[in-house]
Subunit: 245 residues, 4 copies
């Protein structure tokens, strides 16, 4: 499977605290464990030409991961449309953490995708609410993160097709933190954890979920819809039987 | 209730056949039966300033109906965003027939919203598949239209929150022809029938469905979410209990 | 509207602590605030003949509320089937708190409906996650209960049609605490709060939600499906055109 | 993967017309193509002891297929409960055609599962409405059956988690003919075609869908929920802070 990991890659370059947690960038940390599964993993970042997401790269991508935060606006609209087209055509998309406000996620959702947030080193517990879902394979009843940023409801998304995780936060909020959406022939998974100052993506359970989501969202050889003017498949008799109606 | 009916109003001015069916415009026909219910009904059309959808008009609108077809591209993006914001804030939206390719519907869906189509004077039968839904109040098991344009699957929308009608077409296709979606605090109903050359909006069952949809999608005094940075509602102890984790 | 409130009514008779909180029974407390809205409110309890739910009573009931806990097994199967039939035919059903393990709820869900629980006088906060839903009319972003029993995920229900509330509990769990389901022409709302030793049903927000749910689940004059052998609505030509296929 | 195909196996023994189409029984025809995929395939029929579905057999079954029609009532309730428990615990279940009225399907749905029907040798066309779904891998935009029994809406099921196919029938009806449901940790797929007098299960597309559904519904190593009394994961302070509330 061909995976492309997109990372804004700004925090890592500006904030030594982040660089210390993720010396190879968040994309580097994601790539490391995804490569364990015999995937072909490519990375792409905001400051590359076309943000590293040329037609060629996207056409060769089965699943795209997205991490962005402080520079959503710098992503060009034309590239967003290109990604959207690929998702509608079947490419999987996994949107991580602060990617909830990315142009591509908001475009695919049709809503504002806003939420409550707080940085307070608080405990998060992600409860599995759909325990037969393939994305939960290999984990327990919940995942506990000792310190994470809080995201709280209301999360302004359409009702997910499947709600997989709900988070509990120490400060008193809850959040729909693992949610699936189908758009066209493509599968989208939003997964909440991953604030840049915490070592979240080194957590084995978090890695398991992301690996599962990659497999779950990979495109299959499913029907390609044909749109536009269509000839009838059956005889149309209404002109001859007008009296009937 | 304050209702605004938006119509592109181009067919009516260019095509005598359409003008004959809808001498007051499609918006006029819709207004006529919606006024029966003691609603305050306003109409707006593409060629008015701001397409007739000023901030003032939209802020005073509980439910917006939308009919467009050949000039979707002429609707200004800024107005589309304005409508989207109002929907997310609670305004109901009823998208009719060829409005499936309107900017506002595609924006709220996040998908291409394309489909198969055919103009062949064929019979359509809209079957109720959610017979407890308030939108079906007062009609029978199905609505039969002697002649309509065909719309066929695949219809490129997200899975609806509720699927209310499925259409059968004489030429061999099916279509999800009545579907609800929630976006933010707003309710959206897509309703398929209404090709401009047929007297569809004079059909009593079609009128009943649209009246029901208006009532169903009207905003209520529901909670207004607060987004952004949030103070904790509970004491956060993790800093002090680091050892625990 | 005709409302029937069903209560097991055993705790009230056995446990002075409960009798002190609900001197007129839980059904009495529910009836009191539902009568404020010009509804015709009837109560029924386990130990009445046919549990107070005769054919006549049910046929005259628009919305049935259900509170039970320690005697689910004593409800006769024939009465459960009678209630199920009425729900499929359009009667609204509101299942409260420990009613999650009632025969009628389990029958309508098709699952075990089990969950985690704890009685520890802990704080519950019910967050609104569908802020346009009519059931949330008139309340704020969340409802806070100072002391309630904990119910925790996994809650073994089918994915709700609409998820309206998610609860946060002090002890670390979350719960899908307000959820809607459609069964046949009937609407079902499960609402979590209401442990018998706490004055939950005197809380104004809880009352508002229950009042809203009653209105939302009330039957309407929607189509009555016809089942069984059906004559064709269109000519069937396949016998004559066998060669075609 | 271990597959068990359950067939009522009465038509085959009573009706020479059916025996001619399915000389090895419907279960035999299903087994034949499922064995192509290196599955371990077992069959079981109504008239075997415990209907061939002992604890041992079910515990060793990953996916169960179900075909029944004229003897639903002869299936023992205890066996139905046994199957339900296994589904809730993760076993896949594929319910075929007239299995819609089987005890196990009705139990898992919570509704009547009734529908319209007609035997008239008419054409059916199953349209794909979820073209990214793994169950549609390897087929085209629709499957056409030259002659099938008609099943028409309203189909009295809960709204499916995913609607994969909608059927068009020559006589004027539509039907939700491929639908998924999650119950507990188990996945359920209802697939409409397969009247006993037609060679439906020899159709390659139908076989592809059933093979896909078997893979899709197979259990995975997902979390096993723990139910019942639960100790708190966090300190509960409400007793000490009563004044706060």
């Amino acid at each position: 499977m061909n995976i492309t990991i997109w990372n804004e890659n700004r925090h890592e370059n500006k904030n030594p605290e982040v660089a210390k947690v993720y010396p190879k960038g968040i994309h580097g940390a994601l790539a490391e464990f995804l490569e364990e599964e015999a995937n072909v993993v490519r990375t792409a970042t905001l400051d590359e030409p076309e943000h590293g997401l040329t037609e060629e790269v996207l056409n060769d991508t089965d699943v795209l991961l997205w991490w962005g935060h402080i520079a959503h606006d710098e992503v060009e609209d034309a590239i967003v449309t290109r990604i959207q087209d690929r998702v509608l055509d079947g490419m999987g998309l996994i949107v991580l953490h602060s990617g909830h406000l990315s142009k591509i996620f908001r475009t695919l959702m049709g809503t504002g995708c806003d939420l409550k947030w707080r940085e307070a080193d608080e405990r998060e517990r992600l409860w599995v609410v759909e325990p037969g879902h393939p994305i939960t394979e290999g984990i327990g009843e919940y995942i506990e993160m000792p310190k994470e940023e809080m995201y709280g409801e209301h999360f302004d998304i359409p009702a997910p097709d499947e709600l997989v995780f709900i988070s509990w936060f120490e400060g008193g909020e809850v959040f729909r933190s693992g949610a699936t959406f189908t758009r066209g022939r493509g599968k989208v998974f939003y997964f909440r954890p991953g604030h840049e100052t915490y070592p979240t993506y080194y957590n084995k359970d978090i890695q398991t979920v992301i690996k599962n989501a990659v497999r779950w969202s990979a495109p299959k050889n499913t029907p390609v819809p044909v749109y536009g003017n269509a000839r009838p498949l059956e005889a149309i008799s209404s002109k001859d039987t007008e009296g009937k109606n």
